[in-house]
């Protein structure tokens, strides 16, 4: 950073200080608290849904994750379609992006955006434009973890 600053001209340095003085400071702590509270509320809703499925259907703690995720994504789909999720995301930031609802929102908002281009090339082709990277890295990291686990189980004697 300092090396970079040394190469700057006097005018550039002046502009940087000018910019720093006028730049609105991000309320990091406030944002973190908001993200924590709203993200936590989403997780509490998720927990309530999984308890509901465990209580009334034959799902164990191991298997209840699948219907819970599906329900959360379905709710996100409706909220994104009606434009409510965007308002929540504006306040919560990472609190709405990190849970699985953020993934759902990324898929559905891309589908809505490209609806006018047709169902096949528009919706089908662009639906995973944003969420594609999540799937890619998710699959890749699970492959790496499975590989490490297999090696440890086979040769590590666990």
């Amino acid at each position: 950073m300092t090396k970079k600053n040394n190469n700057l001209s006097k005018q550039q340095k002046e502009y940087q200080t000018f910019e720093k003085q006028r730049e609105t400071k991000r309320p990091v702590v406030k944002n973190c608290i908001k993200a924590f509270l709203i993200g936590g509320s989403i997780c509490t809703i998720g927990q309530a849904i999984s308890t509901f499925y465990m209580y009334y259907f034959n799902f164990t703690e191991q298997t209840v994750g699948n219907p819970t995720v599906a329900t959360l994504i379905f709710i996100t789909m409706l909220l994104t379609g009606f434009g409510v999720y965007d308002h929540i995301a504006q306040v919560a930031g990472a609190g709405t992006a990190v849970p699985v609802t953020g993934f759902g929102n990324a898929v559905i908002s891309a589908a809505i955006e490209h609806r006018t281009e047709g169902y096949v090339l528009g919706v089908g082709g662009n639906m995973f434009k944003l969420a594609g990277s999540v799937i890619l890295f998710g699959v890749f990291s699970s492959f790496v973890i499975a590989l490490i686990k297999t090696i440890l189980m086979q040769w590590g004697g666990f």
């Binding site: 509901f52 465990m54 209580y55 703690e61 191991q62 298997t63 209840v64 909220l79 409510v84």
Partner: protein
């Protein structure tokens, strides 16, 4: 501005209709999960750190083995609540552990199973920390306490719970 009248239900827009429906179904889910309509007549020991129940209904198969096993599990610091049933020499128990011990509950399950098998030789012991098993055993305990159960009915219930424990999917 150009709102289509077809998109309204009883004068409410489709958006508000669905959001209301969502909120209603969610509150139903939460409320139905929180209320219990079954009468609880079990002998129970409830405190801030433990929740142990005992079944004492002479018209159901003898549950003394379960009650003894529960007494043993009571001594474990990690265990906060125990539910269970037995039929002849088959015993199934579900435990709730302290929040901090959730990470090691599988190890605890195995340890308790081994200990109980050593104490009760010839008894098939199953210990589970799964919340679903706990819920099912809690419901079954209440039924056993309140109604008459024969061996066949109990065996069927035991098999159902055993299938849930063995379900790896």
């Amino acid at each position: 501005m150009f709102q289509n009248k077809k998109n309204t239900y009883w004068g409410v827009s489709m958006k508000h209709f669905f959001i209301g429906l969502l909120a209603l179904s969610f509150s139903f889910m939460t409320l139905s999960g929180c209320t219990s309509n079954e009468e609880d007549n079990r002998l129970s020991l409830r405190g801030p750190t433990e929740d142990i129940t005992k079944i004492s209904n002479p018209s159901t198969p003898d549950q003394s083995l379960t009650n003894k096993a529960k007494e043993l599990l009571r001594t474990q610091d990690e265990v906060t609540a125990v539910r269970g049933i037995n039929i002849d020499n088959q015993l199934v128990l579900a435990i709730n552990v302290k929040q901090i011990n959730q990470f090691t509950e599988r190890k605890l399950e195995k340890k308790l199973k081994k200990e109980l098998e050593n104490i009760y030789e010839g008894v098939t012991v199953d210990v589970s920390s799964d919340q679903k098993i706990f819920i099912e055993l809690d419901k079954l305990e209440k039924k056993l306490q309140n109604t008459t159960y024969d061996k066949q009915q109990l065996q069927k219930q035991y098999n159902d719970i055993k299938n849930l424990i063995d379900d790896e999917a």
